[in-house]
């Protein structure tokens, strides 16, 4: 059996932003009983023993956890490479220094656009100025800086100016990833999915920027899989390389897998090793045995692993079907219809977006009982 390389630790779903494409679950209230510092430390130790080398600290907003510095320090002691994936609103100079001391290796900051009005509108809160200040702070402290930009109908036409901003900030990497349609993004799909003309424009800009910035900035560009011929090799295969731990300790083969009707596995009842190796959740779609046709007899079955189980479920109601993104899928018309609508629909920016709400999460549970004085919710 393969050993996992990476673990996504979703420390909390609390977040100061309201992005309409948030991949967090809609039922945020179910995740309020967050793991304690000690529980996370046990999970990290078990993850390292299982083979994990990359730790992605995310959420929600991981800086909302007052014990983040302690979690980072434990991870570094274990030999994990620590990546912080943050909105950066709460990345004050003081916290940045503390994280540096704790040994944090790499910071990824989300930006929503290249200018304040649109960025703040998408984020649902004034945040652009503080994000830029935090990005500069990251460079001052000599961390590698990645900018994460989720692309969609409202900002993809600005990709050239977004790249200029990344260059100006001295980013080492930029991830320009089109929205994936899970969670809140699924709700907003019609308003987010770009047109083919928008994608063609973006790809030309990315090609030119890659040439111009070779050796200086790494540009990762991910097209919306709705427009690709074959599905994405989701997570490098179910239970093959990656795992996710949610704020309340559920373990998932991918961050969207909470949507599937499968038995839960939690670190509060089992070791990470047992969950990875033995749980029915991780075994359900591992390998190729579960596959129906056309995947079962396809030459690409070990290339894209049948695509994304969560997308198959979301579009067809059956997680064991071929990902409808694949042009060979018998359900491909479901994707074709969405793409057709995106190319006949309202002009970019006209369709209305439903922001992610926080009502469900208003009684924030603080597992360490720490001060929340630095939480910077405007």
């Amino acid at each position: 059996m393969n050993r996992p390389f990476g673990m996504l630790a979703e420390l909390t779903y609390d977040c100061p932003l309201h992005c309409p494409y948030c991949s967090n679950p809609l039922n945020l209230a179910d995740y309020r009983e967050e793991l304690t510092t000690a529980e996370w430390q046990r999970v990290l130790s078990e993850a390292r023993a299982l083979g994990v080398l990359q730790l992605h600290l995310s959420g929600g907003e991981p800086l909302q956890r007052r014990d983040l510095e302690g979690i980072v320090a434990s991870a570094r002691d274990l030999g994990l490479y620590t990546n912080l994936i943050t909105s950066a609103l709460a990345l004050t100079p003081r916290r940045a220094e503390q994280l540096k001391t704790a040994g944090l290796d790499h910071v990824q900051i989300s930006i929503q656009a290249d200018e304040p009005a649109l960025s703040d509108r998408i984020a649902g809160t004034p945040s652009y100025g503080r994000k830029l200040a935090a990005a500069r702070l990251v460079k001052e402290l000599e961390w590698p800086l990645t900018l994460n930009v989720v692309l969609h109908r409202h900002n993809i036409d600005r990709i050239g100016r977004i790249l200029d901003l990344a260059e100006e900030l001295g980013a080492d990497r930029i991830e320009l990833a089109n929205t994936q349609y899970y969670g809140w993004a699924w709700r907003n799909r019609a308003a987010l999915l770009p047109s083919r003309a928008q994608l063609d424009g973006a790809e030309a800009v990315v090609r030119a920027a890659r040439q111009r910035l070779e050796g200086e900035m790494e540009i990762i560009y991910v097209i919306p899989d709705y427009y690709s011929k074959y599905p994405k090799p989701c997570m490098g295969g179910w239970g093959q390389r990656q795992l996710t731990v949610t704020p309340n300790g559920n373990v998932l083969p991918c961050p969207a897998a909470h949507t599937l009707d499968l038995p839960q596995a939690t670190v509060r009842e089992h070791s990470l090793e047992w969950i990875w190796e033995e749980s029915s959740l991780f075994q359900r779609f591992r390998g190729t045995e579960w596959m129906p046709d056309p995947c079962r007899s396809c030459d690409r079955r070990e290339v894209d692993f049948g695509g994304c189980r969560c997308q198959a479920f979301q579009l067809t109601g059956d997680a064991a079907r071929t990902d409808p993104v694949c042009h060979l899928s018998p359900d491909h018309r479901l994707v074709d219809e969405a793409v057709r609508a995106a190319n006949e629909g309202a002009e970019p920016g006209e369709a209305e977006l439903i922001p992610r709400t926080h009502k469900e999460n208003s009684n924030y549970y603080s597992p360490t009982g720490g001060s929340e004085s630095e939480r910077s919710v405007p």
């Binding site: 390292r48 490479y81 000599e142 590698p144 790494e218």
Partner: protein
């Protein structure tokens, strides 16, 4: 595009990467933002010698003390690939 590695370069690991022993896989690994490179023994030995002090020629000589049939071209190719990925910096000539 291939990046030329000169005999006189003094390669070193880029600041954002870590070379370490993984007791689980029993291999040396190179860790970088969002990535892991599991190294074979020769690769690990070469990177262990990339201290910004030794020149490429000196690294090849040290390898010849440890292994048979060390080809300088292969060492330079290996370093060139890692420089392109920004995992290794070439340092002064």
């Amino acid at each position: 595009m291939s990046i030329a590695v000169l005999s006189t370069n003094r390669p070193r690991l880029a600041r954002q990467v870590r070379l370490q022993w993984d007791p689980v896989r029993e291999r040396q690994v190179l860790l970088e933002p969002e990535g892991v490179l599991v190294l074979n023994q020769t690769g690990a030995t070469i990177l262990g010698l990339c201290d910004g002090e030794r020149t490429v020629v000196e690294i090849v000589e040290e390898l010849r003390g440890q292994y048979n049939h060390v080809a300088g071209d292969e060492v330079r190719d290996f370093l060139s690939r890692l420089v392109a990925k920004r995992l290794v910096e070439l340092g002064d000539e």
